[in-house]
């Protein structure tokens, strides 16, 4: 047995994510159309309104209707998971190893206090200027997370109850097809080739058709 020791203080959460990633990499063998984690529920495109980085209201369901969409909840002070997701998605869209549909990539900040529209814009521009950044009040962001069915972000506190500045949030990216149904989630560690594969599938879904 290897002597290597992995530090997993959030071991359970990491295990779920990693196992999901492993299941995904074996994609297809279980009959799934997607290489990411297929969502059984087939929930509709979530509906919520936040504000985009230009200060305009952004009705998510209306703005992205009929378009393959990646939805991600994160924050710019996250140096570890968020940049990996965004850089991997940007790579998938840039390299176009397979023909990809028009894709809208939307990141909602779960840290609206620190992530001003300017900071959020500068952050997303590092990856792809076309990425949409949304913010709102804490209540609005919480409502958006409930609508999307992802774990609500929590402001973590230390032993004295003081805020740590760390915001727990769902680590997966949700994929919504051109048929306006949530089909797939990609955990941390998903490769750009997996995104490319699944985005191509999502783009081919048409409204009203049976789920794949």
């Amino acid at each position: 047995m290897s002597l290597r020791r992995r530090i997993l203080t959030a071991a359970a959460a990491a295990a779920v994510v990693t196992l999901a990633a492993c299941g995904g990499s074996a994609g297809g063998q279980d009959g799934s159309t997607f290489q990411g984690v297929e969502l059984a529920e087939g929930a509709p495109r979530p509906s919520f309104t936040l504000t985009d980085t230009s200060g305009r209201p952004y009705d998510f369901a209306a703005e992205t209707a009929g378009t393959t969409t990646l939805l991600f909840f994160g924050y710019t002070s996250c140096p570890d998971i968020c940049p990996v997701h965004l850089a991997t998605i940007a790579t998938a869209l840039e390299t176009q190893e397979v023909a990809l549909p028009d894709v809208e990539v939307v990141m909602v900040t779960v840290d609206p206090e620190r992530d001003t529209p300017e900071v959020l814009r500068r952050y997303l521009d590092r990856f792809d200027p076309s990425f949409v950044g949304l913010y709102g009040t804490e209540a609005e962001v919480a409502a958006a997370q409930r609508a999307a069915g992802v774990t609500e972000a929590v402001d973590e506190v230390d032993e004295e109850g003081e805020p740590t500045g760390i915001v727990g949030h769902a680590a997966q990216v949700v994929g919504i097809g051109a048929d306006d149904v949530q089909h797939v989630a990609w955990p941390f560690g998903t490769r750009s080739s997996v995104y490319a594969h699944d985005l191509a599938v999502l783009g081919q879904l048409v409204p009203g058709a049976a789920a794949p």
């Binding site: 002597l3 020791r5 530090i7 997993l8 071991a11 570890d80 740590t164 760390i166 560690g189």
Partner: protein
């Protein structure tokens, strides 16, 4: 520290399971890479270029000194502050480095978070000094990987 140690042990069991499940899909296949016997060695350090002013530093520490040690933190001229984080961005006061074991800080898990980073771009090299409870400080030259990278350049 005891409670943290117990969690770490849980992590070991899980990690082994996951590595088996994934066929070693995690870190760079360097399971065979070891530092010299009798020394504490830093293996494969890297730092993805930060999107703004926060960066994460990853590395593996191979403690073959025969003595249990603890990674306490790090210093570098390119950051205002360095904080040790466990998985999920929880701040840690120290990372146990049991004798004879490799401790891995990798994307999605534990890392050193650099705050108020300036002048760090992909292709560069950043000197970072690591502080330990027992071992004398170790300075490593850390290559800067592209934005969002999950492995050393």
């Amino acid at each position: 520290v005891t409670g943290r140690g117990r969690r770490a042990v849980g992590g070991v069991i899980l990690a082994v399971t996951l590595l088996v499940a994934c066929g070693g899909g995690g870190a760079d296949g360097d399971a065979a890479e070891r530092g010299p016997e009798g020394e504490l060695t830093v293996l494969g350090p890297f730092l993805p270029e930060p999107p703004l002013s926060l960066a994460a530093l990853y590395l593996t520490i191979d403690n073959r000194t025969g003595v249990d040690d603890v990674l306490l933190g790090a210093r570098t001229e390119v950051a205002g502050e360095v904080v040790l984080h466990g998985a999920g961005m929880t701040a840690l006061e120290g990372m146990p480095l049991p004798a004879g074991e490799q401790t891995v800080l990798e994307p999605g898990g534990a890392h050193l978070m650099l705050i108020d980073v300036v002048g760090v771009a992909a292709g560069g090299v950043v000197p970072v000094t690591l502080d330990f409870a027992v071992h004398e400080p170790v300075t490593v030259e850390v290559p800067v990987a592209p934005l969002g990278a999950t492995e050393a350049p």
